[in-house]
């Protein structure tokens, strides 16, 4: 009996040792991702993991390249006419859907009308609310007539992948979409892997790597381990900041970094006492140890926060008031407000994001030195979002914005009195006026730049947000992959995956 067990064990051990250790496969690109996509219908998805995948299968008319400039995709050209009341797209010819049907202006009209239909469950209808009518001139020319000028609408349209009129209403479209993109969905095991295969009739030519696999790995450290072990070829987002120096020194892999389109901030509810006093908000802003956060929590990834517009955009205003980390100054401001030495207790909310929790803890510690007690509440994402969007029951919150592609996106919703995400309840007539005017002025004009520079000054002076840090996108790639370039907006990271090559 004992011998038998031994034989079985030895055989098993032998099998384990001799089995092939997984062959290098140059025909498959393996991409790591931090979360699963809920679905693949661009009209209803809202999160980055979904668009990471969608952008390989379906394409927008225009896309942002890694320099954050608009680039032609399904459109070959576009133009704003009629005093910015009309946007015209000339569409690419010879494009076919994965099922062989030709791509035409009908599809474009269908997609946007679907989104604008009040009975659809489209998620971001408000982004396209200014579209009044969509007019098809011919199969490859389409005009969007707007109810009011919105020179930044193009940026929103760059995020809407076109869906097919002939298949977009299929019940399983969200699980099994038909697109024009370089890859088609082949197999999807949720929370584990999504397998894509090349679409050989792709208008841009046959993809270099025939298969793409997305692997979902929720834990940041596990994802990094998997990358270093060579189990995934490339990933972007959620790189553990702590490891960045070691990774950058490692010659066997490549770290790519670029300023992102996002930032983290401390939101202050200007309706609540004593945050309705701008001096208290300034005091809190002075208590944010930005340098320490960027250098130590983020390990040098990113830069200290200044205002709502990312530094990479031409509208960025560097010449705004700064609230340097200065506990003494914070105490003085509190004193001026007549609040020094009084019991001030504020409730701060954030979600389970580790970086935000760390920032909350640091802020809690620093604010105590100024004489402000902060109760930190870490809530689940859903509960947190519900609190911030659905109630006024909070004093402070830590959150971030991503995809701040233009000054309108970066300011109107957040700081206009009627803004849909004005959750600090800030209201300033001059600011409202500027933000409305900005929509009617050509974005590349000096006037536009001036309008938004002034708006930034007002926002920073009013301090509804304590700007913490501008973020940076970090991508990790093995040297045997060529063609990957880190994208400032992670949803677009893989839009050129068909041009990558793999030589392992």
């Amino acid at each position: 009996m004992r011998q038998k067990v031994l034989v079985v064990l030895l055989t098993l051990a032998l099998v384990l040792v001799l089995a092939p250790l997984g062959l290098a496969d140059n025909d498959t690109l393996i991409i790591g991702s931090g979360a699963e996509a809920p679905g693949l219908d661009p009209r209803v998805e809202v999160d980055i993991p979904a668009f990471e995948r969608i952008n390989l299968i379906l394409e927008p008319l225009i896309v942002f390249n890694t320099q954050m400039e608009l680039e032609a995709r399904l459109a070959v050209d576009w133009e704003l006419t009629n005093d910015n009341y009309t946007i015209t797209f000339w569409l690419r010819e010879g494009v076919t859907w994965h099922d062989g049907e030709p791509f035409t202006a009908e599809d474009v009209k269908y997609t946007f009308e679907w989104v604008l239909d009040p009975d659809s469950d489209a998620a971001n209808a408000s982004l396209y609310a200014d579209i009044e009518e969509i007019e098809i001139e011919d199969d490859h020319t389409v005009h969007f007539h707007l109810s009011s000028p919105n020179v930044f609408l193009l940026n929103n349209m760059a995020r809407m992948n076109i869906t097919p009129a002939h298949a977009g209403n299929r019940e399983d479209f969200r699980q099994n979409p038909v697109g024009t993109g370089p890859y088609m969905l082949d197999n999807w095991v949720r929370d584990d892997r999504m397998e894509l295969v090349a679409f050989n009739d792709y208008w841009g030519g046959e993809p270099n790597i025939p298969n793409v696999v997305f692997r979902t790995i929720p834990e940041n450290p596990t994802r990094l381990l998997a990358f270093e072990a060579g189990e995934i070829d490339v990933y972007q987002g959620g790189v553990v900041p702590r490891e960045i120096e070691r990774l950058e020194a490692d010659p066997n892999l490549i770290v790519q970094r670029t300023p992102s389109t996002g930032y983290a901030y401390l939101g202050m509810n200007t309706l609540s006492e004593p945050l309705n006093d701008v001096r208290v908000r300034h005091a809190l802003s002075h208590a944010i140890n930005r340098e320490g956060i960027v250098q130590r929590v983020l390990n040098g990834i990113g830069t200290t926060g200044v205002g709502p517009v990312p530094a990479a955009l031409p509208w960025y205003n560097d010449d705004v008031p700064r609230y340097d980390y200065d506990i003494e100054r914070a105490r003085e401001l509190l004193d001026e407000a007549g609040l020094l030495g009084q019991d001030i207790t504020l409730d701060l909310y954030t979600n389970e994001n580790l970086e935000r929790i760390r920032i909350a803890e640091i802020l809690q510690f620093e604010a105590a030195r100024v004489g402000i007690d902060i109760n930190v509440h870490i809530e689940e994402w859903g509960a947190f979002l519900d609190r911030i969007l659905g109630s006024e029951d909070y004093d402070l919150y830590i959150l971030g914005w991503s995809g701040q592609l233009d000054p309108d996106r970066a300011m109107y919703r957040q700081f206009h009195t009627e803004g849909s995400f004005n959750d600090t309840y800030i209201s300033d007539p001059r600011l409202d006026e500027l933000l409305e005017k900005g929509l009617t002025v050509p974005p590349d004009s000096q006037e536009s730049i001036e309008i938004y520079r002034e708006a930034q000054e007002i926002v920073v002076e009013l301090a509804p947000y304590g700007f913490i840090n501008f973020q940076e996108e970090v991508g990790l790639v093995h040297p045997y992959i060529e063609g990957y370039e880190v994208h400032p907006y992670p949803a677009n990271s893989w839009q050129n995956a068909h041009l990558f090559t793999k030589n392992k």
């Binding site: 834990e219 940041n220 450290p221 381990l225 553990v240 702590r242 490891e243 070691r246 140890n289 320490g292 956060i293 250098q295 130590r296 929590v297 389970e352 580790l354 929790i357 760390r358 909350a360 803890e361 640091i362 809690q364 510690f365 109760n375 930190v376 509440h377 870490i378 809530e379 689940e380 509960a383």
Partner: protein, 279 residues
Amino acid sequence: MLKQLVKNKGALIGLVLIIILILVAIFAEFLVPHDPYDMDIWISYEAPGWFAEDSRYILGTDDMGRCVLSRIIMGSRVSLMVAGMATFAALFFGVGLGAIGGYMGGKMDALIMRFMDLILSIPAILLAIAIVATLGPGVVNAMIAIAIVRIPQMARVTRSMVLGIKEEDYIQAGKALGFSHFRILFKHILMNCFAPIIVVATLGMGTAIVVEASLSFLGLGAQPPIISWGRMLAMGREAIRSAPHLTLYPGLAIVFTVLGFNLLGDGLRDIFDPQLKQR
């Protein structure tokens, strides 16, 4: 009993571990080498002192430059308090429900036990997560959740003991003498169930500590600045390669605490178990 405890090596080790731990928790303020809340972000992730000559921190510093050793010492309070209160609450309700069910029998018994089955059939950690999600994260709510998921076991043990004892002659005699149900149940029956319940409670302490750590690991337990070992693990896990001391030491603290309770519980069971006693 104390003599037997000393003779049982496992139980003794467990008892010593727990006593040390309780002393640490009580005198935490005096034992910490540094202020556990004091952060200096510029010295974060410092390696433990015995690896780096110049470090003032024996177990290094955490992600915000706070002394890991001091935080582990201070964290013993939350672990013990949450587990202790939760276990006590579970004991209170579990023993009560189990005793009533076992003593009364019939419909009441069936009702109580069905409800206990119901709770028991949902995986404990999932139920705890759902409860905390509903009540909102925090130490107190985590405690409530742990207590609720621990009740059925206590109830079951108590019930089976009560069922065994209530037919004994001396209980029947008490009934004949006209003692009130309350007096019989609490004075005579429960006093005799004491031993196994203590065993279950001791072992339950270990489980409660692990559940607390799990909830805190998920961010549903203690909120900053309250120090919890589970939260230390959660915050440190990202740096497990470059700064393993953030994950390793709080983890070991949990392991040894739970070990203490398990050793003691096991030892007590050996001591109380009359069948084992004879040999």
